[in-house]
């Protein structure tokens, strides 16, 4: 474990050095993410200028859900962005070879190789919204709600990561799975709002099939209502753990199907 941390640190530092080499590219990335966020928040303001409540939640509460949903998203984005490259080109071009001839776990190696600083945008916006919305959101703040919600955040992050591992691993069979990652990842838009605003099939879909509902709505539910921690926090932990195990199985199966590319 200590060795893993040491290697992780080293790889991240290498990546930061690389970023410094291409400053313009890095700044453009950060700016485009801020614009993306501004559009999302502006949208909520527009909705609430027309209606006072949404599915029983007030404007500050909706902002709180939105803000909290950005944190697991941002953490995953910060840490595991390289999985996109697996789906788009690393496997297709045969560059996955190098991960297989090094004595560390290939998945860990892939993930450690990139540290996506752009994600700071999501984290800043997420934390900013939480701070802004919390005083007026009628939160049930106790030691338990705060502690359990904090514990659930890494698990919610794991939902993002697991979905990315699964979909990127499809590239081992399909050669390129970038668009599938994109499609599945794009569903995270549903995480920003209470699932109760969606029609029944959509609700089922984002709760049980591509369970992004657990990375925003269910994650916020306990601290918002103070009841049912088993459903919200328990749900996040259970769903993320199951998803992670499945994703690792798919990933490992994928590695043995890996075909490399002609020299």
């Amino acid at each position: 474990m200590r060795r893993a941390l040491k290697i992780y640190r080293l790889l991240v530092v290498q990546n930061l050095k690389r970023l410094m080499e291409y400053r313009a590219d890095f700044l453009t990335g950060a700016v485009s993410f801020l614009i993306d966020q501004a559009v999302g928040i502006g949208f909520i303001f527009i909705i609430f200028s027309q209606i006072p409540q949404l599915a029983g939640f007030t404007f500050p509460q909706i902002l709180f859900i939105y803000g909290l949903s950005q944190i697991p998203k941002g953490l995953d984005h910060l840490l595991t962005d390289n999985l996109w490259c697996i789906g788009y080109f690393i496997v297709r071009k045969g560059d996955f070879d190098k991960y297989l001839i090094r004595p560390i776990n290939p998945l860990f190696h892939v993930i450690a190789e990139n540290f996506q600083v752009d994600a700071i945008g999501e984290l800043v916006v997420g934390i900013g919204l939480l701070v802004y919305a919390a005083p007026n959101a009628d939160l049930h703040i106790t030691v338990w709600t705060v502690l359990l919600s904090l514990i659930a955040i890494p698990f919610a992050t794991l939902i993002y990561t697991s979905l990315k591992i699964m979909t990127s691993a499809l590239a081992f069979w399909m050669k390129s799975s970038g668009f599938i990652i994109q499609m599945v990842y794009g569903m995270n838009e549903f995480a920003k709002y209470p699932t109760t605003i969606y029609s029944f099939p959509v609700r089922i879909f984002v709760t049980y099939i591509i369970p992004f509902a657990f990375t925003g709505y269910y994650l916020s539910l306990y601290i918002l209502t103070g009841t049912d921690p088993l459903l919200s926090i328990g749900g996040v932990i259970l769903i993320s753990s199951v998803l992670f195990v499945i994703s690792i199985l798919i990933w490992n199966k994928g590695i043995s199907a890996y075909e490399s590319a002609g020299a």
């Binding site: 080293l10 190098k98 004595p103 075909e259």
Partner: protein, 337 residues
């Protein structure tokens, strides 16, 4: 040390008709075809040997190397290196091997070269003292000093290849896989790399498997060669034996008078050779005659040629290994047809 037993690797390929329409059709009704990249490959390499693993393009060399390094999982058959099956115990296995794929690099593209070595040092758990000793040794044989501070993307191909070989040697592996390590390099760099491989093999008893298209690599480095073609073993033995058994080809070059010619037709009348035993190529008035000296003795060929045409000059070439290998490839093809 290295055992490969009946290795076979199949790839599934979706067959597409040409054009966009064909691509669409393949999307909905994929027609799958199995491509056999390696059909049945077996060989054994004892410790400390340098094995030349050769074959024409598409013979399956890289596929076999990738199975041996654990990158690909064989469809059937087994390989065992140092008692380990690469696919079963990858993490421990790869600590004992180094691999260079000439067409790819494992260096960190955007960073100064020495950063790569520092990362690899941690990945392979090399302690500080051994790392320093190792870098000194690699510096000495591969002359990395001049460019170790430059970003990898700015290195020339020759520098990059040396840097890649050093990267694969950092953890003192017992087995080194070199897939076309001299591809695209000039004579001086090739020589430098060959010297380095030789020293590593001598001083550390590293077992080396080398694939190459450069015959000099084989002549200078390899104790033994294994030749494969179309996914099957074609030859396994020493270079010396190969020369003895297959080296009957001789080449005579006749420079003739402007008005004279040498054609197969002429030889057919007098010597009546088999189709494969005689090849004539010409460039203006230089006629290159390659023939099987077991079937047509050199003296006979010479006197016959002199009798049918006006010759100004003659040169005789010994069978070089390149020619022998070309013959073997041709025989392989003939066998398959």
């Amino acid at each position: 040390m290295i055992y490969a037993e009946h290795l076979r690797k199949e790839f599934k390929k979706v067959v597409k008709e040409p054009g966009l329409k064909g691509s669409f059709k393949a999307l909905f009704k994929p027609k799958k075809e199995i491509v056999v990249a390696a059909e049945d490959i077996s060989f054994h390499v004892p410790k400390g040997e340098i094995l030349g693993f050769i074959g024409p393009n598409g013979a399956g060399k890289s596929t076999v190397i990738k199975m041996l390094t654990g990158i690909l999982t064989p469809t059937s058959g087994e390989c065992r290196i140092n008692g380990k099956i690469p696919q079963n115990d990858r993490k421990n296995y790869v600590k004992e091997i180094g691999a260079v794929f000439g067409q790819r690099t494992q260096l960190w593209w955007d960073l100064p070269l020495q950063e790569t070595y520092l990362v690899l040092k941690e990945i392979y758990e090399v302690d500080d003292a051994s790392f320093k000793k190792r870098m000194d040794f690699l510096n000495e044989i591969l002359e990395l000093e001049k460019f170790i501070k430059s970003p990898v993307r700015t290195l020339s191909l020759g520098q990059r290849m040396r840097a890649d070989i050093a990267a694969s040697m950092l953890h003192s592996p017992k087995v080194l896989f070199l897939d076309e390590p001299t591809i695209g390099l000039d004579v001086v760099v090739k020589d430098n790399i060959r010297q380095a491989i030789m020293r590593i093999n001598k001083e550390e008893k590293t077992t080396v498997i080398l694939t190459t298209h450069d015959i000099s690599d084989i002549e200078l480095l390899c104790d033994r060669i294994v030749m494969i073609d179309k996914g099957k073993n074609v030859y396994d033995g020493s270079l010396h034996e190969l020369r003895e058994n297959y080296g009957q080809t001789r080449e005579l070059v006749f420079e003739t008078d402007k008005s004279s010619k040498l054609t197969k037709e002429q030889f057919r009348k007098g010597l009546n050779p088999n189709e494969n035993d005689l090849v004539i190529e010409n460039e203006k008035n230089n006629f290159k005659v390659r023939f099987n000296s077991n079937k047509i003795p050199v003296a006979e060929m010479l006197s016959y040629a002199l009798s049918v045409t006006k010759v100004k000059d003659i040169s005789v070439k010994d069978a070089d290994i390149e020619e022998i290998i070309r013959n073997l490839y041709r025989q392989g093809e003939a066998l398959n047809e």
